[in-house]
């Protein structure tokens, strides 16, 4: 009994509590980003390297809209719409011509897009980070600690967006089109579903989700041109660990990984905490390559 209670006393409970919340919050945003990525991969076998840059672009557009209008919520909505349209345009111009070719080409093309977008942002906005004001300030008391309200809002909103999207997939008119196209592209076409447009729409939706994440996450850190890179790497890890094309798995994996990283950062430098995610990825690839949260390996 002695050693156990000694360990329990030594653990920094207040930090663990805070990091649990942090982990969930970050996990929900990561889930939102990863959902878009896994959706795009599931339906058209495209590994969207530029996803992090769509996130970053969303954050920047949020900055601009807030600077002119002062409204965070307007920034959120407009940014999502604008980036969705940009996403659709990108898909039509650069990805449609590559349909049917070696999947390697789409990875390269989206990689090229990410380079262009990153440098474009650097060019337009400069290297200094911008700030987005959080719409809800103030903290609430959790036991004897204080935790910012806004972070809870992020988690709830992210969950709402993902939930809303899931409902749309299940019950919405075009949700069936998307699900059918994901399952059997050829027969979906034979049933009159305009598959090329479904692909564009899904890419746009994924882009919009990434943008929304960017705006939501903006107030927590500075908005700068390189912010997308970390997210896209983590999102890839999540997609692999959660199971390619598996929406529920991505969400579970996002929270799982974010929690692990958050806990790790209690003891190590946050920059190094990211190694935890890498380790999870490697272990998953070694032992359960179809995904940690996939119920039965196919």
């Amino acid at each position: 009994m002695e050693p156990i209670s000694a360990i329990l006393h030594a653990l920094p409970w207040d930090q663990i509590l805070i990091q649990t919340l942090n982990g969930i919050v970050t996990g929900m945003i990561l889930a939102l980003v990863a959902s878009g990525l896994t959706l795009i991969f599931g339906i058209m076998d495209v590994v969207n390297f530029a996803h992090g840059e769509l996130f970053m672009l969303g954050a920047y557009i949020g900055v601009v809209v807030m600077a002119t209008s002062g409204s965070f919520w307007l920034a959120l909505v407009l940014s999502t719409l604008v980036v969705a349209i940009i996403g659709a345009a990108l898909q039509i111009t650069t990805l449609r011509p590559l349909l049917g070719r070696d999947p390697l080409t789409t990875i390269l093309a989206t990689f090229g897009i990410s380079l262009v977008l990153q440098n474009y942002a650097l060019w337009q906005f400069g290297p200094v980070a911008r700030k987005i004001q959080e719409p809800i300030t103030g903290r609430f008391s959790l036991f004897y600690l204080e935790y910012p309200w806004y972070r809870i809002v992020i988690a709830v909103l992210s969950g709402a967006i993902i939930g809303g999207f899931w409902l749309f997939l299940k019950y919405g008119t075009y949700g069936i089109w998307i699900r059918a196209t994901t399952q059997d592209r050829v027969m979906a076409q034979a049933m009159g579903i305009p598959v090329p447009w479904v692909h564009t729409a899904v890419f746009a939706i994924g882009a919009g989700m990434a943008a929304a994440s960017g705006v939501l996450f903006g107030p927590l850190v500075g908005v700068n041109h390189a912010m997308g890179i970390d997210w896209v790497l983590r999102a890839f890890i999540v997609v692999v660990v959660g199971g390619m094309g598996n929406l529920g798995g991505s969400i579970a994996a996002s929270i799982f990984i974010s929690l692990l990283e958050a806990y790790a950062s209690i003891w190590v430098d946050p920059a190094q905490a990211v190694i935890v995610s890498f380790v999870v990825l490697i272990l998953t690839l070694l032992f359960r390559p179809t995904g940690l949260f996939v119920p039965t390996p196919k």
């Binding site: 999947p103 390269l108 090229g112 380079l115 262009v116 190094q272 990211v274 190694i275």
Partner: protein
């Protein structure tokens, strides 16, 4: 190759090498270093081509091989005095080989996209380690050291000038090219290409695909590491930036622009990219990647065979 095209090929080869030997006498200092850099990046691109072009395994991990070659050389040059060229090469190759073994293990168990993403993650792992382990690697600032002399202990010692270094690099890269060419045209190379075409069938025929893949990764890693050593020697510093996955991305860009699976193509691609970068930097300063990136994307769509493939078709008309 037919007798005639073989003759044309070797003539062309000799002409180009001759030009490269002479060039330090002709070009100004800046361009001399520029050509040397093209050769080094060309070596990196060739090593990447072994995996991407010949074996069909897309890898974003070359920055890890390159970076560790660089840091390995740095370790040798900093820890042993006087700085020894051959030791630097040895340490660099060992460093790169260690990483290559790690990657090779995974290459046999993962396919396609999973492998590509994993190699990307590996580059980042090494980046994070090098970036944060400041005591050993100098962290963000990297390591600086002096250039070793071209020396055989006991016989002679010649400090490198820009020109002599260039010839040394040229010798190493040309030798590497010839070695790699010999390998890709050997039965081993044929099996690699067969794996790229149809892995299942190659395995069904009876080849131990796993072993071939491991050797391919090791080969690729060693030459990429060698490029890293050369780079360290030329520039006298090692920095974490070179371990960042962007370097791998650039290697892949060289391959695509030049033409994958041709060995020469990637060198051409590297030259093309560096020239574009140089040119656009004049107008766009550090944002050269915007037009270069757009050109890259356009080339993927319209010139998937790369510059070499394009020229080949153009010549055949």
């Amino acid at each position: 190759m037919s007798k005639r095209s073989s003759y044309i090929y070797w003539t062309g080869f000799c002409v180009i090498v001759a030009l490269l030997i002479v060039e330090p006498f002709v070009l100004p200092e800046f361009w001399r270093r520029f050509v040397t850099e093209i050769l080094i990046w060309g070596l990196l691109a060739m090593s990447s081509d072994i995996l991407i072009g010949y074996t069909g395994m897309v890898s974003f991990g070359h920055s890890a091989f390159f970076g560790l070659g660089m840091y390995g050389a740095a370790a040798a040059l900093l820890s042993v005095a006087p700085p020894n060229l051959w030791l630097a090469i040895l340490y660099g190759l060992i460093g790169a080989a260690a990483v290559a073994l790690f990657v090779a293990y995974f290459s046999t168990r993962l396919r396609d996209i999973y492998f590509a993403i994993t190699t990307l993650i590996f580059s980042q792992i090494f980046y994070v380690i090098i970036f944060t382990w400041t005591e050993v690697t100098g962290g963000e600032n990297g390591l600086t050291f002096s250039r070793p002399a071209l020396a055989i202990p006991g016989l002679f010692s010649l400090p490198f000038t820009t020109s002599t270094l260039h010839w040394f690099v040229l010798a190493v890269v040309t030798a590497s090219y010839l070695i790699l060419r010999r390998i890709t045209q050997s039965p081993f190379g044929m099996v690699l290409q067969s794996i790229r075409e149809n892995e299942a069938r190659t395995r069904a025929i009876g080849y131990a695909v796993e072993r071939y893949k491991i050797v391919a990764v090791m080969l690729s890693g060693l030459f990429a590491g060698l490029a890293g050593v050369l780079y360290a020697i030329q520039n006298r510093f090692a920095a974490p930036d070179f371990v960042y996955f962007l370097v791998s991305g650039e290697a892949v860009i060289f391959n695509v622009m030049g033409g994958i699976g041709t060995l020469v193509g990637p060198i051409v691609g590297a030259a093309f990219y560096l020239l574009l970068r140089e040119g656009f930097s004049r107008f766009f300063t550090e944002f050269y990647l915007i037009p270069v990136g757009i050109i890259f994307i356009a080339m993927i769509i319209f010139m998937p065979q790369g510059l070499l493939g394009f020229m080949r078709r153009w010549l055949n008309q």
